[in-house]
């Protein structure tokens, strides 16, 4: 590599001369990375959304009707000491009765026959995000059940299980589809680069004829490929951001999901950078493969 400046210049000259094929390359790269990115975005947000929904999981801890205030206070303190507990609130017997009347006005008659309020007081526990797994909630519930004064622990096992299943289902799909899209992206970029190198077969042959080494010939193309890939990645990012913003706007306009905007997230800075960098690496790698592939056959230099 005796003349690095020349080689960089050469890369830019190549780009200027082959404007059309460079544009094609950038657009193709952008679209393929976008496809992948779109899927990643969809996956990330759905997972995020599932997480948000899971936050609504509540565990109800019913207190024994005969429990004294001291025992109730003891339960509260022990619950507050639990790492799995995120938010804790207390529903007294009276409040429970009021809620019952509100929720089931028709069945109010049910309780009228009794002299004493049969409904128990309860603690409503919201679970911390890191403990929202089906298993850990079960373990938590089992533990709480042993506390003195606790009559019963309830939570909607079904809902949690369904959510967990849905997430794992989606995760599995994500892996399969993500893999396929990644392979497709790489194949398409490699093919695009290969085609654009067929256009330069003659050029490469001439350089070989006048005694250029492999690395001398390849370097400008590799630089070009890296630039092209990076541009493609950046364009993909812009495209994805555009789609994302458009989507948010549409959601706002339709008013369907008033709370959803706050939940939806775009790629953080690192991921964005990673996207551009991976575009660059893809471009670079494809160039290397293509140029050296074309230079392999000695007899073609004629």
């Amino acid at each position: 590599m005796r003349r690095p400046l020349y080689l960089i210049q050469e890369a830019f000259v190549n780009i200027r001369i082959n404007r059309t094929s460079v544009m094609i390359g950038i657009i193709t790269t952008a679209f393929t990375i976008s496809c992948f990115g779109l899927f990643a975005l969809l996956y990330g947000n759905l997972k995020n959304l599932a997480g948000t929904l899971q936050q609504d999981i509540e565990v109800l801890v019913y207190v024994q009707p005969e429990a004294s205030d001291k025992i109730v206070e003891g339960i509260r303190q022990r619950l507050e000491g639990e790492k799995a507990v995120n938010v804790l609130s207390f529903v007294s017997k009276a409040e429970a009765l009021k809620e019952f009347h509100q929720q089931f006005p028709d069945e109010s008659t049910l309780l009228q026959g009794m002299e004493e309020n049969p409904l128990p007081a309860s603690f409503v526990v919201q679970i911390s995000p890191q403990f929202q797994e089906s298993d850990s909630i079960e373990a938590f519930a089992e533990r709480i059940k042993q506390f003195p004064g606790v009559e019963q622990v309830r939570y909607s096992q079904d809902w949690i299980d369904t959510l967990a299943l849905l997430v794992s289902y989606f995760e599995f799909g994500a892996i399969v589809i993500g893999l396929i899209l990644a392979v497709a992206t790489i194949t398409i970029i490699a093919n695009t680069v290969r085609l654009s190198f067929y256009l330069r077969k003659e050029e490469i042959e001439i350089l070989r004829l006048i005694g250029a080494t492999g690395s001398f010939i390849a370097t400008p193309y590799v630089i070009e490929g890296a630039l092209l890939g990076a541009c493609g990645g950046a364009l993909a990012l812009v495209l994805l951001k555009g789609v994302f913003e458009f989507f948010l706007l549409e959601i706002n306009a339709s008013g369907w999901f008033s709370g959803l905007e706050s939940v939806l997230i775009f790629f953080p800075f690192q991921t964005s950078l990673f996207l551009v960098l991976s575009g660059m690496l893809l471009g670079c790698g494809s160039s290397i493969i293509s140029v050296f592939g074309l230079m392999r056959v000695r007899n073609e230099a004629t």
Partner: protein, 222 residues
Amino acid sequence: MIQLFHVSKFFERCTALHDVTVRIEKGECVLLTGPSGAGKTTLLKLIFGAEIPDEGQILVQNRNIARLREADIPYLRRTMGFVLQNFKLLPKKTVFDNVALPLIIQGVSRADSKRKVGEALKAVGMNHKHTSQTGVMSAGEQQRVCIARAIVNNPIILLADEPTGNLDTVLTSEIVELFKTIHARGTTVLLATHNQSVVEEMNGRVLHLQAGRMVSDKGPAA
């Protein structure tokens, strides 16, 4: 310098070279003649390492071309200049850039290349067009740029394949003079041509090929 031992080259439908043995000394001037399709271009390509012989051995500067490692070929080629029958210039680059390329590849400094390219272009009468793209030039102009590219490097061996096919008589004489000057400097010159006047003017050793066989080998007229 250049030695061919019983070299043959077969193509699918024809024998381009058949059992050619020849020895060319350093500093010789050799003219390669023969009818169309005799194998002149093939012979030059073999010496240049652009084709591999099917039989026989080729030594160029004591290196066996057929056995040379892929990575060593560029360094061998840098000691040779080649004027191709189909030019093989980079069409989108200027005359100057095309001629400067062999120098850039070898890492010659900018000032040095500029001077050398200028001299080479002047020698072929193309210095007034050094900023033109080669792709759109006339055939004669392209041919002269090719010659300039081949000599810019002061090669040890100069291979030229029909270098005056697209040139008029005046220019042909000038190019012949140029080759003679280069030969006088000690360069081995190997020139394939149909042009009888070039053969006469060059006054070198004449190898005559016919259907791939070397049929005569005459020294220069005294």
